[in-house]
């Protein structure tokens, strides 16, 4: 049966639907059909039994109110290389056995080495579920962070000339800023809750209250270190690092924030080195991450 309004575009999904064709019934009848179909779909299917759990998950994951978040850019994420450098700097100032200190210096030099790296980044915010993102770095300052949020996948990047954001499709054009040092500006108004880690926050943590210890080694090729301190609520309380013993290359890093007496951290971030394969030359340009015909806004 043809829809009454032939100008109306019909989706493929509608053609295979067992609902009446749009326009083939009166508005009231079509609404009745859609309502009961939706009600049955919600209540009668197996998914319905999982709905209560799902609600709890979503409510738990509701972020702090966005307007507050936007006033705290310090919560926004930073490049992995900068994070690693901040961490090794932190350890370098601690009065610790000479061998460990030397190793930390080695790790610091290795982290600054030019080259491409791909990390898996796991972020456990104070509220909600763990989020897994991909982080790519080139040298000390270029990075690409890929992840998904409520509306789809986003890609955030920085290179020597620009900072940019490819927002999830419903959020419109690509944002580009010719001022890479103020890259967090391009997130304004996006509602992206990138609760990860700001290197500046770590740099402020430099004090001798940290205790650096060497953990039992998994094998002779790797070294594991841990730094602990008695933190105030919400402060960084533990950092763990796993690195190649020979080169100082950081393989895994974990940072925890939280109340000193709580068993579970309030926030946690973990970086794991996945690959050092060379990335395409243009990987840190926004055009490598979206369709060529997508609109681009240059911000001032």
């Amino acid at each position: 049966m043809e829809p009454k309004d032939p100008s109306r575009r019909v989706d493929l999904s509608e053609l295979s639907s067992d609902l009446p064709e749009p326009g083939s019934l009166s508005v009231e009848e079509e609404a009745e059909q859609r309502f009961v179909d939706a009600l049955l779909g919600e209540i009668l299917t197996v998914q319905a039994s999982r709905r209560q759990e799902r609600i709890a998950e979503i409510v738990a994951a509701v972020p702090k109110r966005r307007s507050r978040l936007l006033h705290h850019p310090g919560w926004l994420s930073a490049a992995a290389a900068a994070v690693l450098l901040a961490l090794v700097t932190l350890w370098a100032v601690a009065a610790e056995p000479e061998s460990l200190l030397a190793f930390v210096q080695k790790a610091k030099a290795e982290s600054a080495r030019a080259g491409d790296r791909r990390y898996e980044l796991r972020v456990q915010p104070a509220l909600g579920r763990e989020r897994v993102r991909e982080l790519y770095t080139r040298g000390e300052s270029a990075f690409v962070l890929r992840g998904s949020f409520l509306w789809g996948q986003f890609v955030l990047g920085r290179n020597a000339r620009q900072a940019w954001l490819v927002p999830p499709l419903p959020r419109g054009p690509v944002r580009v800023l010719d001022s890479p040092d103020s890259w967090d500006r391009i997130l304004e108004g996006q509602g992206l809750d990138l609760v990860t880690l700001d290197a500046r926050e770590l740099l402020q943590e430099l004090d001798p209250s940290w205790q650096l210890i060497e953990l039992p080694q998994p094998d002779s090729t790797r070294l594991q270190l841990r730094a602990d301190r008695r933190a105030q609520a919400g402060e960084l309380r533990r950092i763990e690092l796993e690195a190649e013993a020979a080169t100082g290359k950081v393989l895994r890093m974990r940072a925890e924030w939280g109340d000193p007496d709580a068993e579970q951290p309030r926030r946690r971030l973990e970086l794991r080195l996945v690959s050092e394969d060379p990335l395409p030359a243009n990987w840190f340009e926004h055009r490598a991450h979206h369709e060529s015909d997508r609109a681009v806004w240059e911000l001032r």
Binding site: S17, D18, L39, L40, L44, Q52, R54, R65, L150
Partner: protein
Amino acid sequence: LSQSREKELFELLIREHATSLRVVLRAALHDSSCLDELFQETLVRAWDALPRFDRERDFGKWLRGIARNVLREHWRARAATPVGEELLEVIESHCEDFQRQRHDTLGDELGRLNLCLERLPEHFREAVEHRYRAGLKGQGLAERLGIQFENVKKRLQRARKLLLECMQREARLES
């Protein structure tokens, strides 16, 4: 209220109104694959807007109003054909009726629906069970029922109408 207490109350309200909220979203979408995404987006916006919620108003209606804005943006972003406002209004009125029946638990909701399902003639009930409980669709459903797909659509259409009439009748009796 502390934020944690506020969140607890918010969760209670959401649980109470989740079915009607999801029904509005599901009824308006051509493709339910983005249902969870839009449900989540509605909750996030509701949480953001909660300080501005007028407590004299109906929370469920307010929540579904937010969902309709989310839907409009969703259609605009995908250049998809929106469901008409008039149709959304009628769905909203069904939701309001449904909400008034005070379903405290999923069991309550299932109870009335099952009662009406049992009263359906056998061939209608069979079509509904296979379509929704077993999740069969399209040609698979037609083969299971042993009829043409066009006849499946007609059978389901009739079954939905009978179910709605039955649920409305039961609600009137209860009230």
